[in-house]
């Protein structure tokens, strides 16, 4: 196996407001039956990366439960497989992970014990499909010290990302981190948070960072060294988003109402895997009116639902109307409810006769 996989899944996000109060971003439920980490994990598995370490820290229980068995992503192997790297107290260290680089530094012994020549570091909140072997090939061909996956995106949609400037060869020559100023027109190239580096080189860089007490992968180990280090780009030309804000989360879920996008991720080989549950199929009772909506297993629909994504075991009562909503697992919508433009967090109960209409430009969260 050519590369070791590391998935950074330690973060919460203040931009996701109350949604990450009970789970890490990487555990955010998506598209009705998936979680955001399924995409990075499936990409690893589908790229034949045999050993994957998931770095967790923030509110990790939900993520740990999701990852409680590695069989769903075919990581239940005798050799390699799936490792969870939680922060631990040791005689030498009593800190939490103080940043992305520190998370790796604190697991340096794990990285050193491996034998793979390369490391693929991916964030756990990206929604995309990518054969990492293509990035590895480009990395080797260009003789880069590090290769970073990036994507060209409209400026208006990519304010919250690191913005990169490339030279003619694709080398990254400048990097503005989460710069929200400037014009909203045109396109820019942004960082997708997927890094390929030689394992031995990574160890060297991390040891240096540990000595200098630098703990952030991007701001400490990459941006200050763009001049000296040959850091190359790999441009992704298919769907990519991350779900680091409420709007991005809402839009990403609604993107899956597009049959072409579902086909791309869930029908075209290789597909995204997830933990399979034991829910019965969705039930549509007499009087149900469903239009342009996803309805996951275990759900029971009596009323009307449109332009919405319903996760597992959602109940919609008689004569209720749900429009432009994301209803997460186990949401109960009573009878005669009007619900529009909302994200409803799991296990929320909405009483009979409730009327809630949110602002479509700033979707509120109900939890």
């Amino acid at each position: 196996m050519k590369a070791l996989g590391i998935i950074l899944a330690g973060g919460g996000s203040s931009r996701l407001e109350s949604l990450t109060a009970k789970r890490a971003v990487a555990a955010m439920p998506l598209a009705g039956t998936y979680r955001s980490i399924d995409f990075a994990l499936s990409n690893m598995s589908n790229s034949n990366v045999g050993t994957v370490a998931v770095v967790t820290q923030y509110s990790s229980r939900s993520l740990n439960i999701h990852l409680s068995s590695s069989k769903w992503w075919d990581f239940g192997r005798k050799q390699g497989g799936l490792y969870l790297l939680n922060p631990t107290i040791t005689p030498e260290n009593t800190h939490w992970y103080r940043g992305t680089a520190d998370a790796l530094i604190q697991n340096l012994d794990f990285i050193k014990e491996r034998h793979e020549p390369y490391v693929i570091i991916a964030s756990g909140d990206g929604v995309y499909k990518l054969d990492y072997n293509k990035v590895l090939e480009r990395h080797a061909a260009t003789g880069a010290e590090m290769t970073i996956v990036c994507k060209r995106m409209p400026k208006a949609e990519s304010e919250r990302f690191g913005v990169l400037e490339l030279d003619a060869d694709g080398r990254i020559i400048s990097w503005a981190e989460k710069n929200e100023n400037g014009s909203h027109e045109g396109e820019q190239i942004i960082n997708c948070g997927i890094y390929v580096i030689r394992r031995r080189h990574l160890i060297q860089v991390l040891e240096e960072a540990a000595r200098e007490e630098k703990y952030h992968l991007v701001t400490d180990l990459i941006i200050p060294h763009l001049d000296q280090r040959r850091i190359m780009s790999y441009l992704l030309d298919s769907y990519w988003t991350n779900i680091a804000s409420v709007t991005a989360y809402f839009n990403c879920n609604k993107d899956f109402l597009d049959p072409e996008l579902r086909k791309f991720f869930f029908s075209d080989y290789p597909v995204i895997h997830t933990k399979v549950d034991d829910n019965p199929p969705a039930k549509f009772n007499g009087g149900a009116r469903v239009s342009n909506s996803l309805v996951a297993g275990g759900s029971i629909i009596n009323g009307s639902v449109s332009d919405s994504v319903l996760f597992k075991k959602v109940y919609v009562g008689d004569r209720s109307s749900v429009k432009n909503c994301i209803l997460m697992d186990d949401v109960y919508v009573g009878d005669d409810v009007v619900l529009e433009n909302y994200i409803v967090d799991n296990k929320t109960r909405i009483a009979n006769g409730t009327c809630l209409v949110g602002d479509p430009d700033s979707i509120p969260i109900l939890s």
Binding site: P280, F284, A288, V290, G298, V309
Partner: protein, 424 residues
């Protein structure tokens, strides 16, 4: 090491009265309820009852069943000691034979049962839909001091002549039984679910080993009865459905779409487990309609579906109408096609504009014992071309083309069976 009770699941039968549905697989492997296979019900009953050691006896077309069960992961039956073991007939020195009867099949697997040194053995067949606590039945068996206990259920008196009827005393001890009696003395029908003391079972099987086609109902139970052995009944009073005919199979599926079905899959208690792939949720498009139906994960509904059960990854194209039907995984219904009262098995494709279930009932020209209702059946992996009209009580198996439908019509009661390279 030992197990208190192990289970032996008889899953080798063809289920020939399911016609086209069991062309390529044994009856317990037939899909049910939009996600499940019939065998999931006994397997889930085992784990919910605390039975963790199961031998599954296969014989007729076992591939689908083997693939489905695998190493038993969905039912938590992947265990170090115990778990699920597939038991096909095997060659022996001297007297090799197929499984010739229910008791004969168990007799041929005494070696398997001995490994677990059980006190009790639960024996049943994998072709009924029900939720039953076998632990409760065992408690009854133990407290009665029975050698064998037979699960029974009360049936309407006028239906009793169709069953094996048990006559019991006040204590539930079986005093007599009659197979399909014209004038029944009781309405307690045997469900074909037995708990035996293993010592009794082994002794009986060995004594009766020379009986041809040795069967529990016909030979073993009467033999115990004749020698005055302690036979008890265990009365079961909830939902139990034999899905052995096309009519009952269709009915049991469609009952799941009732507002509050008698057999409820949506209860947290006594969950049914199955081996399924990960799919995105079901999608109903703008202009699509799904009502009084169960729709499996990954399905896309652009047409209209009413009073039907759809499996995973089914596609109903725009303008298509599906009514009163059971569509299994991967079925594709073309643009504007109309499907009425049909059972369409896995991955079959119905061409655009085709109409199924038209006209009036006519007796089957293929096999009136199997095809005797107004349900039309399409076997797995079949193809039906565009713009043909198919009547009621029809069977279609295989990849058909327009030439197979003279005048674009297949009349009620008619059939097409296209055999493909070596199969069927």
């Amino acid at each position: 090491m030992k197990k208190q009770m192990i289970a032996m699941l008889l899953a080798g039968g063809q289920g020939s009265r399911l016609g086209a549905l069991t062309q390529g697989m044994a009856k317990p492997a037939v899909a049910f309820g939009g996600k499940y296979r019939i065998i999931d019900f006994p397997l889930s009953n085992y784990v919910n009852s605390g039975v963790d050691t199961v031998g599954v006896l296969t014989q007729y077309r076992p591939l689908q069943l083997n693939t489905h069960i695998g190493i038993g992961i969905p039912w938590d039956l992947d265990k170090q000691f115990g778990g699920v073991t597939i038991l096909p007939p095997y060659e022996k020195t001297g007297d090799s034979e197929w499984y010739t009867g229910t008791a004969n099949a168990i007799y041929q697997n005494i070696e398997f049962m001995d490994r677990y040194n059980p006190d009790y053995v639960l024996i049943l067949s994998g072709d009924h839909i029900y939720k039953m606590d076998y632990e409760d039945m065992l408690a009854r068996h133990v407290s009665a001091g029975a050698e064998a206990t037979i699960a029974v259920m009360p049936v309407p008196w006028d239906e009793a002549p169709r069953y094996g009827i048990m006559i019991t005393d006040g204590e539930g001890r079986i005093t007599d039984f009659e197979e399909k009696p014209k004038n029944p003395r009781s309405n307690l029908a045997s469900m074909g679910i037995y708990i035996f003391d293993y010592k009794t079972l082994k002794k009986e099987l060995q004594e009766l080993s020379d009986v041809p086609n040795c069967d529990f109902g016909m030979h073993v139970i009467p033999h115990i009865h004749r020698r005055g052995g302690r036979l008890y009944s265990y009365q079961f009073n909830s939902y139990w459905k034999d899905v052995g005919t096309l009519g009952t199979y269709w009915e049991a599926n469609l009952e799941l779409t009732d507002l509050v079905p008698d057999f409820n899959l949506y209860e947290e208690f006594w969950q049914i487990y199955t081996s399924a792939e990960a799919y995105p949720p079901a999608y109903v498009a703008e202009g699509g309609k799904a009502e009084t139906s169960i729709i499996g994960d990954g399905s896309t509904i652009e047409g209209s579906v009413k009073h039907s059960v759809l499996g995973a990854n089914v596609k109903v194209a725009p303008g298509a109408k599906v009514r009163d039907s059971v569509l299994m995984n991967g079925v594709v219904i073309g643009v504007g096609a109309v499907v009425r009262k049909a059972i369409i098995a896995e991955n079959s494709v119905i061409g655009a504009g085709t109409r199924i279930g038209e006209g009036f009932f006519a007796a089957s020209r293929l096999d009136p014992r199997v095809y005797n209702s107004d349900i039309t059946v399409v076997g797995a992996n079949s193809v039906i071309p565009e713009n043909v009209t198919i009547g009621k009580n029809v069977a279609v198996i295989g990849q058909t083309t327009a030439e197979d439908y003279p005048g674009g019509v297949l009349e009620s009661g008619d059939y097409i069976i296209k055999k493909k390279g070596g199969r069927a």
